[in-house]
């Protein structure tokens, strides 16, 4: 019924005792996600959520005692890179980093390190994942989506909610919704998720929500054209954005012609993707 997270997810929450960590752990547990433990250095031995979830000082010990297979990170930006590495070092195979504002140099080093082992990182600066009816890992409001056969992958947070709500309004549900995050260097790309949706027997259609900047959408278009059999609809945010006040030439030389909404839409259309003019149009494109 899903990709990446489901009923068998055993979730660890890093930064569980913080303001955001606590609030969203509560929401995840209420949704039915199996939260097995939390980590906050210095708070090991405590229990949270009315004594239901044990807190540990380190991921290593939490893994030994409670056996999580997935970790979600609410640690502040200064400690986020370290938290990701700690989870990877302890053997967690799926790490979701919600934290926004992580320095890009930190992420480049983390990504290089993770690429050498079999760990999947989603985010940072992402809303996480939602497999409706089974598990919610992150901050996507659970009530806005119902189970179904549409796979959703997005670079944006709130724009994803907009699309999920529009789908629900039309009676459509989703298999899994994956927010990959909007940072320049992240763990999982559109192509990675599209590949999973293509292989998932319960996903029949895919919605992709992109935005200006980078060339991830162009790469995805190439993948869709050559490797995908399932229909894809997309929305690209930032069509009206003015060009940034740029300084220096290096960015322009590296990015060349890619990055703008026009180029992304052209590449996706050429790959057979239906493009929505605005998010509320997506259900119609999927139904047609």
């Amino acid at each position: 019924m899903s990709i990446l997270v489901n009923k068998n997810t055993r979730l660890l929450v890093q930064g569980i005792t913080g303001h955001e960590g606590m609030f969203h752990t509560q929401q995840m547990v209420q949704y039915g996600t199996n939260v097995v433990a939390g980590v906050t250095p210095g708070k090991g031995g405590e229990w949270v959520l009315d004594g239901k979830v044990p807190v540990f000082d380190s991921v290593k010990v939490a893994v030994e005692v409670t056996g999580p297979n997935t970790s979600v990170i609410f640690v502040p930006a200064r400690g986020a890179a370290d938290a990701i590495l700690e989870a990877a070092d302890a053997g967690i195979e799926l790490i979701i980093c919600i934290t926004e504002g992580v320095p890009v140099a930190d992420m480049m080093r983390v990504r290089r390190f993770l690429d050498q082992r079999s760990v999947r990182l989603i985010g940072p600066n992402c809303p996480g994942l939602l497999t409706p009816g089974e598990a919610k890992v992150g901050i996507i409001p659970g009530s806005i989506a119902i189970p179904g056969n549409v796979g959703v992958v997005s670079r944006s947070g709130t724009l994803t909610y907009e699309v999920l709500a529009a789908l629900r309004q039309s009676g459509m549900g989703s298999s899994t919704c994956v927010g990959i995050g909007g940072d320049p260097i992240n763990g999982t790309s559109f192509v990675d998720v599209l590949e999973l949706f293509e292989a998932d027997p319960h996903t029949e259609k895919v919605v992709m929500i992109g935005e200006i900047g980078g060339s991830d959408e162009e790469t995805a278009a190439e993948f869709i054209a050559t490797r995908m059999t399932k229909p894809v609809a997309a929305f690209i945010a930032g069509q009206s954005a003015p060009p940034g006040k740029r300084m220096g030439h290096a960015g322009a030389i590296i990015e060349g012609g890619s990055g703008g909404a026009v180029e992304k839409i052209a590449a996706l259309e050429a790959a057979g993707v239906r493009i929505a003019k605005h998010p509320e149009e997506i259900p119609n494109l999927l139904a047609a």
Partner: protein, 378 residues
Amino acid sequence: MKLHEYQSKSIFARYGVPIPRGRVAGIATEAKQIAEELGGRVIVKSQVLVGGRGKAGGIRLAKTPQEAEELATHILGMEIKGLKVRKVLIDEAVTIVKEIYLGITNDRAQRCPVMMASSEGGMEIEEVARKTPEKILKVAIDPLLGLRDFQARDLAVSMDLPKEHWKVFVNIAQGLWKAYQENDGTLAEINPLVITADNRLLALDGKMVIDDNALYRHLDLTETRDQDEEAPSEVEARKYGLSFIKLDGEIGCMVNGAGLAMATMDIIKLLGGTPANFLDIGGGASSEKVAAALRIILADRNVKAVLINIFGGITRGDEVARGILTAIQEVKPRVPMIVRLVGTNAEEGRRLLANSNLVTAETLVDAARKAIAISKGG
């Protein structure tokens, strides 16, 4: 955060990159004095955070200290692409034999920093990149290993730099890389790096951009942030952790999340209206933030209507509603406001707003239509 040329070059110099002798001046008499110290012939360079200074007449050669003072007087009164010149850099003038380009930035596709070099340095480097991309040489830098000497040497060899300069070039490349890495740069650029008539390599110009997310570990740099170079509204927005970009349209926008904020602007434009700004109040926005956002939007006299579009996730609708109410009391908006509130605690939020004088909307399209009609006097 962008750094001025004089700031960038002084950072480069700390890492062993040779730069011309020179100092920055805020008044013309100071420029004269610096020129005298440097021996007469100097370049007077406007310090503004925008490209194309040379073409705008903001970089001039002075043959005497007297001329340096006159040029400084002239340049200090200039505006370049809307930015007022408040400082000039007075650098010793050197005779240029060759101009090289050397820069580092992050390549998203390769997920690592890339160093670029070209024997065709100078003002037309982007043109060179477009027309003759083979003349731009690139090496990917492993973020765990850093720039290796052989990579820098490869660049020197490939651009046919005379052998006698290889060693110094490698040192400059390493210096630029260390300046980039240790200061969390997202751009570090020397254009041009010149060979002088007396056969030295010298960084004549320098640019640096620092990753805003990493500024917490570079507090020395934050103190030098030049607020004069930014729109006052953008400075104010940053104080409250809001991400704001001013545009020229009539509909003020307050949205949570960058993607949704862009989509809101897109739909306004698609349906025939014009957005006055991009404003992302971020996740978990407090009522204080919301009030600040509204003040910033309404300070723009072009705004004829305000569209507030909140899809609560981390952000809670009731908190946003309280923020709106506080802001209305405080700011007394002179234009109609259209509010669309959905997601986390949205019902509570809508209840709080029920008695205020706001136009409500159910969907994004509905909200945009209403805002456009109002902005056009409908």
